[in-house]
């Protein structure tokens, strides 16, 4: 059986989760199986220099574009599926994967399970653990191959990066499919990190929707100052305009690994955890004892965040003589 691991990259970079998809596929091979990595984009050389853990690499090459729209990616992947007749397709849960996975599922009629953390295989049966309800519930699912799984970044350890033998790499010319696509990329905006770069911060205080309103952000900001920390927010806080976009942590924000991550009123949805679960010390304050943030926190408190901010602030001020 063939297992296709979908990989991604844009703007001259390969996404780190690509090696996780290859590792996930590798973990499922049985005798005679083959792991085929699929890549679409201009970064053919980078992909070839990293994806040695796959048995083969198919590169749909489009050198004129910084980024392949998901519509084009899905169309190219469909051709690959037709040609290779795989038993399993692993798609990352990414901005691109969100458009690719169910599109392929609809057009092949194959089952799809999303937000996958664990996969076990027994011949052509899989049992899969998927996250639901913002990570509050785990679903044990059964599916018969062929199937598609959308896999959470961070769920599998990366395969070792190594170059792949050039004899195992096939190039597909993607220019024609890209040119015929109905979704055209017209602009790509990469933020300027000159002002804030959370990825370099050693200490972060992150506020979630539990902070309630914009005025209260200042309370958290004062605490951050006392701790020598950068202030950050979850998606709803940034969406509400209470903090700038560069201060968002998570899937569509920054991936951070500070020495201290203090989360105030953050529920810990999978998309948030993706950005911060690797922090050295995670302290979470949330009045809901079932909040998934406690699954990754080293220390958790279920008191009201405002009470904690006040109490901790008092002690830090007293300690520093301010």
């Amino acid at each position: 059986m063939k297992l296709i691991a979908c990989t991604e990259g844009h703007s001259s970079k390969i996404e780190a989760f690509s090696l996780e998809m290859i590792a996930a596929a590798r973990s499922l091979v049985e005798a005679g199986d083959e792991v085929v990595a699929f890549f679409a984009g201009a970064e053919a050389d980078a992909a070839s220099s990293l994806f040695g853990a796959a048995d083969r690499l198919l590169v749909a090459r489009a050198s004129k574009s910084e980024l392949i729209p998901a519509e084009t990616y899905a169309r190219l992947l469909r051709d690959v599926i037709d040609a290779e007749a795989p038993g399993l397709v692993l798609v990352p849960y990414s901005a691109n994967g969100l458009d690719v996975a169910a599109d392929i599922a609809a057009r092949t009629g194959w089952p799809l399970i999303s937000y996958v953390n664990e996969i076990k295989r027994d011949g052509d049966e899989l049992t899969v653990v998927a996250q639901m309800y913002g990570g509050k519930i785990l679903a044990d699912c059964a599916v018969r191959l062929p199937a598609i799984l959308m896999v959470n970044p961070g769920a599998f350890a990366e395969a070792a990066a190594s170059p792949i033998d050039s004899a195992k790499v096939s190039m597909i010319d993607a220019e024609a499919v890209l040119a015929g696509g109905k979704v055209k990329m017209v602009d790509i905006d990469v933020p300027d990190y000159a002002d804030v770069d959370l990825t370099k911060a050693e200490r972060i205080v992150c506020v979630g929707r539990g902070i309630g309103d914009e005025a209260s952000i200042d309370l958290a900001r004062n605490l951050a100052t006392l701790l020598g920390a950068e202030i950050a927010g979850s998606r709803p806080v940034v969406d509400n305009g209470w903090l700038p976009k560069l201060r968002q942590v998570g899937k569509s924000g920054q991936k951070v690994k500070p020495k201290l991550y203090l989360a105030l009123g953050v529920s810990g949805a999978p998309e948030h955890l993706e950005g911060m679960s690797q922090a050295d010390l995670i302290i979470a304050v949330n009045t809901d004892p079932k909040a998934p943030i406690f699954n990754v926190a080293h220390y958790g408190a279920t008191c009201d965040l405002f009470d904690l901010v006040a109490n901790l602030g008092d002690r830090l001020r007293a300690g520093s003589g301010r």
Binding site: E15, L67, P69, A95, L98, D99, A102, D103, A105, A106, G109, W110, L112, I113, Y115, T127, V128, M132, Y133, G134, G135, K136, I137, L138, A139, D140, C141, K182, V183, V186, D187, P191, R203, L227, A229, D239, L246, K251, S252, G253, Q254, K255, K259, L260, S267, L281, D288, K290, F294, N295, Y299, G300, A301, T302, C303, L308, N311, L312, R315, L316
Partner: protein, 254 residues
Amino acid sequence: MNILVVLRMIPDSAGELQLAEDGRAIDREWLDFQLNDFDDHALEEAILLKEAGGAKVMAVAIGEGAKRVLQMAAARGADEVVALQSEEDAMISSREIAASIAAMARARSVDLVLCGVQSSEDVFGQLAPYVGALLDCPHVSGTNRIVANGAMLRVTQERGAGVAVTYELATPAVLGVQTASKAPRYVSGSKLREASKTPIGRATPEPSGFERSAEIITLRLPVQGGSGEILGDNADTVADRLVGILAAKGLARN
């Protein structure tokens, strides 16, 4: 432009979720249902598009409390509101409802289908790409800005690390909204009362059309805590402990 916006009612996951007796679903009996947050943003984007360039907005709601949410949608500016019937006490699988949404879009010559990028019950796949593929029209998910210029759409999508990508595509199209261009508006009580008279249409679901699906064997709560230590709910003692922990790790002072 004809816009169809999908509003899914989902269990409030900030509340306590309990498992049903058979362990295959959550117990929906005492749950609070609320509009999927991302669908709320999709509704707002639909109304903003209507205000910017003129459009007819049909809101289709599904699930417990659909009626209440449709009145809210009418108060915010939806022209037509329809409740799509669903199986009582069952989760709303986007894979299952995609065929119904696609059929309604076809029947009404809809130019643009909007829905939230995801919902907490779409474990078997997301609505926007399903509907897009069934209609064989382009779809983009994770949008945070949509501008229409006649039949041309300019759509900005959030990617990782703060990267934003803008695409151009023509209608008909399906968009999975992450964030509306502006935060969802508040509706006053008087507007809501007025909208409560809006007639609510009814639609019956189509079969999903998919022969094979995955299935849920059991649901369970994640093992709590792992190696983490719970410091309790007393802010005073928690603060004391944290000062100690931070000091021990050399993190207390800046």
